[in-house]
Assembly symmetry: C2
Homo-oligomer: 200 residues x 2
Amino acid sequence: MDTIKAINSRRSIKSFDKNHKMTQQEIIQLLELAILSPTSYNIQNWRFVTITDQSIKDKLSELSHGQQHVSEASLVIILCADLNSWDKDPQRYWENIPEEPRIALINSLRNSYSGKPGLQRDEAMRSCGMAAQTIMIAARSMGYDTCPMKGFDYNKVGGAINLPDDHVISMMVVVGKRTKDPSPRGGQLPLSEITFKNHF
Amino acid sequence: MDTIKAINSRRSIKSFDKNHKMTQQEIIQLLELAILSPTSYNIQNWRFVTITDQSIKDKLSELSHGQQHVSEASLVIILCADLNSWDKDPQRYWENIPEEPRIALINSLRNSYSGKPGLQRDEAMRSCGMAAQTIMIAARSMGYDTCPMKGFDYNKVGGAINLPDDHVISMMVVVGKRTKDPSPRGGQLPLSEITFKNHF
């Protein structure tokens, strides 16, 4: 599908065919595209928990104020981030570049993130945001629809997926075959109100 | 351009043709696609500051540790967010839906964000992350390249753009015509290390 069409036709869909199953190949394709999303210093801090089992989707639906589309979706992806990825063998992130710039990058990376929990968390949200949008646009082009979600109990979902202590959940994206078209967009702000030339 | 090709070929580019100018129409097209990105409760919390003036790009380059591609890019977009967008006439965000669900949404929105500065900031980073990736993929499909950036002096850039007190900068995306192809990807983590079935 053309990129502009995929971006234009992406909508948050709330009704999916609960009998539809994605193939393993489709799920892998989606994840392989997701991990082409950029991250600061290439730290690849995102971690993706994928769920296709009906009983777990039903549990996640319960933890999302009973929202049915979590149960109905073919795939639920919980986008998490490792807050300490910057400190875990960072040479892996630039193994294909010469040693000298690699060492300089590692030093710069440590200077940037060490002792800065606020920045580590910002990076988790930013990176997952970018990856989530890749997933949503890619899914659209593969004939699927999606819904990004944060309306769930983060603590309980964290418990259900054994979220490590130094990880956070950023958001959830559900993927499936739509059974109902969305309503017109709710109320878009005009470009003139949210864009600024040179300064506010 | 096909969506999958746009996602695959998006790379962080560091060398742009400094003589290339984007048309106003292209810039508007890019921004109109960006604002189709989802936001929680449709709060549309992003704010986009666009810069094409050479003297301001040069200043931003200085504030980005002298990184040349900020000067060379045709367009610099500073992705900001209004932390209080949830509280500013939220009926605008669902003006096209009936009154009863609209009022319920407004109440739910206020419950979600009121008195939660951490969540407001998370939302800024998430929303801007999603919009940034839309911009980068859309730009690719329009024949441009991009580089997402956070390596700049946030306080000084905030000052330069008159950032309002209740706004934050999330990141910067520079857009332009590449003059040098990127090196191979630095070191991608295998899917097996960053994806998990059902739980960690």
